[in-house]
Subunit: 664 residues, 2 copies
Amino acid sequence: MISRDKHDRMANAIRFLSMDAVEKANSGHPGLPMGAADIATVLFTRFMSQDPKNPHWPDRDRFVLSAGHGSMLLYSLLYLLGYEDVTIDEIKNFRQLGACTAGHPEFGHAAGIETTTGPLGQGLANSVGMALAERILNARFGDDLVDHYTYVLAGDGCLMEGISQEALTLAGHLKLNKLIVLFDDNQISIDGAISLTDSTDQCARFAASGWNTMRADGHDPEAIAAAITAARESDKPTLIAFRTTIGFGAPTKSGTAKVHGSPLGKEEIAGARKALGWTAEPFVVPSDILDDWRLAGLRSTKERKAWEERLAGADAEMRGEFERRMRGDLPENFDAAIVEYKEKLAAEPPKVATRKSSEMALEVINACLPETIGGSADLTGSNNTRTSQTGPISAKDYSGRYVHYGIREHAMAAAMNGMTLHGGIIPYGGTFLTFSDYARPAMRLASLMRIRSIFVMTHDSIGLGEDGPTHQPVEHLAALRAIPNHYVFRPADAVETAECWQVAIASRETPSTLALSRQNLAPVRTAHEEDNLCARGAYELASSDDDAEVTLFATGSEVEIAVAAKALLDKAGHPARVVSVPCFELFEEQTADYRKAVIGNAPVRVAIEAGIRQGWDAIIGSDGVFIGMTGFGASAPAPALYQHFGITAEAAAGAAQKRLAKQA
Amino acid sequence: MISRDKHDRMANAIRFLSMDAVEKANSGHPGLPMGAADIATVLFTRFMSQDPKNPHWPDRDRFVLSAGHGSMLLYSLLYLLGYEDVTIDEIKNFRQLGACTAGHPEFGHAAGIETTTGPLGQGLANSVGMALAERILNARFGDDLVDHYTYVLAGDGCLMEGISQEALTLAGHLKLNKLIVLFDDNQISIDGAISLTDSTDQCARFAASGWNTMRADGHDPEAIAAAITAARESDKPTLIAFRTTIGFGAPTKSGTAKVHGSPLGKEEIAGARKALGWTAEPFVVPSDILDDWRLAGLRSTKERKAWEERLAGADAEMRGEFERRMRGDLPENFDAAIVEYKEKLAAEPPKVATRKSSEMALEVINACLPETIGGSADLTGSNNTRTSQTGPISAKDYSGRYVHYGIREHAMAAAMNGMTLHGGIIPYGGTFLTFSDYARPAMRLASLMRIRSIFVMTHDSIGLGEDGPTHQPVEHLAALRAIPNHYVFRPADAVETAECWQVAIASRETPSTLALSRQNLAPVRTAHEEDNLCARGAYELASSDDDAEVTLFATGSEVEIAVAAKALLDKAGHPARVVSVPCFELFEEQTADYRKAVIGNAPVRVAIEAGIRQGWDAIIGSDGVFIGMTGFGASAPAPALYQHFGITAEAAAGAAQKRLAKQA
């Protein structure tokens, strides 16, 4: 039992480390760490199962600081608890180049940072994915190996963002009762009092979607503990609205927006020291307090050891599988399964949409990889994301492998990130490519975090036809290719789709988007190749008999147009070759020699893609010929649109000939 | 009073037009029009103030079909009511190239389509903007001129999207009591029953944010009318959850997901004809029913005439101002005010961040244009979007000019679109550029709709410093430039910022994003020019004395780096010129001669921008030198980051010299 005095001093250690670090950096957010210090102290000293010396222990509780601007709260905790990455020097280097203590918590910078937060609402939605992953893995591996809580600290900002609604309704529906949201209900945002912008009763709102809700004083340790205890016993996810004072302890600024996002200043900090009775120098934690914190860091050691014993005693096959999945390794037979599948495709090349090819590839992948968890944002039949192996996951049965995410693209992507971060799962989820815009903030974070989330984006061009320009991606390939560390695949047929899926599954540090056609496509890869040609990003699909005068580059549904254009050009006496470009990013990663060879020396380069030109100049040059879109699409049957916008073999061949004539 | 039998037949006219059109197009969504036909019939025959012969009457009620996939509901209504654009031939041409009856309703295609919908939740959030615009204009022009309702038909999809939460909490907070949401509560989505994906009590959810809520039978005309009557009398916005049967009338498919998004098929339609007692041929509406609908179309003629009389009788100045604002024309003194302001800037060039320059420009604009309504997604002090003229808008007082949107980027952008669409307002709203991702689906729709919404996006690069890569846009300039019909401005100093604002305000058919720096920038335009140089997208900022060997292109905060690099190159004996590129899209619109002259003939072209290269090749060529980012940023003070990522005058000059040596 921690005395009130001891609790206060332990909480104040967080407060002063945070104040001091922000002051030294001359930048940062002291308000949240000071306001939420009591909640965090109770959580970490009495409830969290974790082990700073074994920070990746799979069955640890997860803590997500969704209000990521309060990063000093997390860094202070990690330092105090004894996580080795976060030394006092790193605290002093808060927000400096190369420090693991970045402005907002960044996954991968230090053990104990479970996800990258800062863009509001993301952490909350990640947590839904983590809590779901826990239940899914529990259903497979049992209570002995998987049985932990996910705690989220969220502020008003997180709860005002739309993604929070998608996340909470999903969690409520799936009854993720081991998810506990600690709401730092300080009634202040950047512009001022929350009453300036919102009148929502958050507890009523969460209750409307099946949550257990409570209110408690966020500065009373026993009230905090009682609330968390009750939350852990609920059969629903819990929101605890903790009434707190932002910047607690700051004599003149606490309780106001002034304390949110700027250093307090020397005088105010001096006042806080006085008010809270803190006499230690900046960055110094009195040794008795540090000892108590370090002791708290050890509180789950026994639990962790017992878990390890249970794992050691588990059925060898189950143990091996659990360990493989938590490492993120693929089963040994995976590559062979894909090759075997490609052989079948070559033998009988199907003329199907790539969204269908994707389903066929997933049928192979899901048979081979029990860790894939599929899903769709209410477009299952359109995205073709469900296979014979993937029964639905529901509140009554987590043993399925398919999440009906509902019409919640943003939370889907963020929850997928949470599952990936949790470990043991490779999630993929679908929507229409145009609605990648709805999911984009989470997709970006997958890239920044370097994690394996796989986005299945169908209906990838005007080729979707009648639904019209609201649903026709035009700029989305370019916009997604713009995100660093994100593979954007646009396969041309069933073989390429299988290859792109293979790379996506194998890419542990890069998320992937597969852009897939609604319309049927002619097969272009009809001879079997064991090698994954798509893994190089671009490759020569069809060579020319004589020296090529034209190289036609294309992706996805336009590759068959390029092949047809080549036939026209060949016939007209202008030998042409075709290069398929399923992934710009992988092509960029190749050697200069390979790139040069694939791009070739033909005097005319033509790119064909039913999207905008942006990005293509890197391949065809700024003087290359581009056959594609220059504006939004239109509502009409797909063939009419391809004609209308001039994305045809005739147009491509004609433009190439015109250019050849001009250059002659 | 319309008899029940008459009501049923009028509603069935909608149902059969919808079924027939979808069948003929062999594509589309019959389920919603059939399910919501009763609600729509009651609304349009008993409540809506509108005039098909004067469809742009400013004080008409607005109807938004947020569930835009049910477009045939709207097209049927417009045809039946007598809107001239939507003829029976257009109904027959549903979803065909060139028809105004696109797959999803598109603003500008036909009078009576108040906004483009389809991407779910957008219409609902547009409506919040429309209802807010109504209150704002009412506060200025009084009940005599502005006093109308905004009705929205929304489905489960709209309500599951996160944007709906942002929109409804904003509306509830602002007590937009003339906003009435008709929820087509059919309990079905594409994947199946809503119970598969959600357990939310929507009424409880809306009530938690200050809404009036009701439930009613969506197939009982009197219950529908009673609910709408009660809603109109509420002092809060109202949600009416109408329990309906999707595909009402389809004998075997109604009430299931099968009726949502595919043609019913001949047999099912025949069954529906039988079940509903409809004997007319496809696309034929019995003349008595058509007459009744046309009569309903005339029901507000008297009201419209009375309104016109009130307008004619109003104070001449007020009338003139009202009419000017509703036309979207600018006051005559606007351009002169900007020129005068630019003169002042030239006399005393300020060294400020462009976010500050933007505030200074807005101070001039807001003084001149009473129709601007500012706002920010809880970053007022960072976005610098508030000026001396813009007092807050609140539920108690709509006479202000500033919306505290809260942490709701997506609803902000969509509500801005709604205000623009309503007319009489030019909205601008701010957030950080990186969070344009959160607002992107609405920003895209502004572009597609060709409307004047202005997005103020500050903290536009690694130059924001310590907040780190989550907050540092790297790909966002490229990603926004990728959207067709969207001006992305990145001004370099106070003069350019004023010029970019001038273009944005004057661009009636193109939305704009202003990307603005957090950090202070040295003035680069110190001599006064009456012409708006930024209006041409790019221009020569600094020429070379001798033939230029190097042209340095740059935008925003990197223009001063380009100027410094020019000095280094000049000094090293390599004459260089500097081209500022505040807007790619405007530069693309210029004549080939102008573009050629600005790009120039210098053998080496260098672009400097603290973002990714994508898009720049069009200006510098794919062999041009690019100084910028290749991946995500980092958390550190801005100067350290510019050094770390090599975005400096030295790096630019060095790279240019290296390239010159190589080419020599």
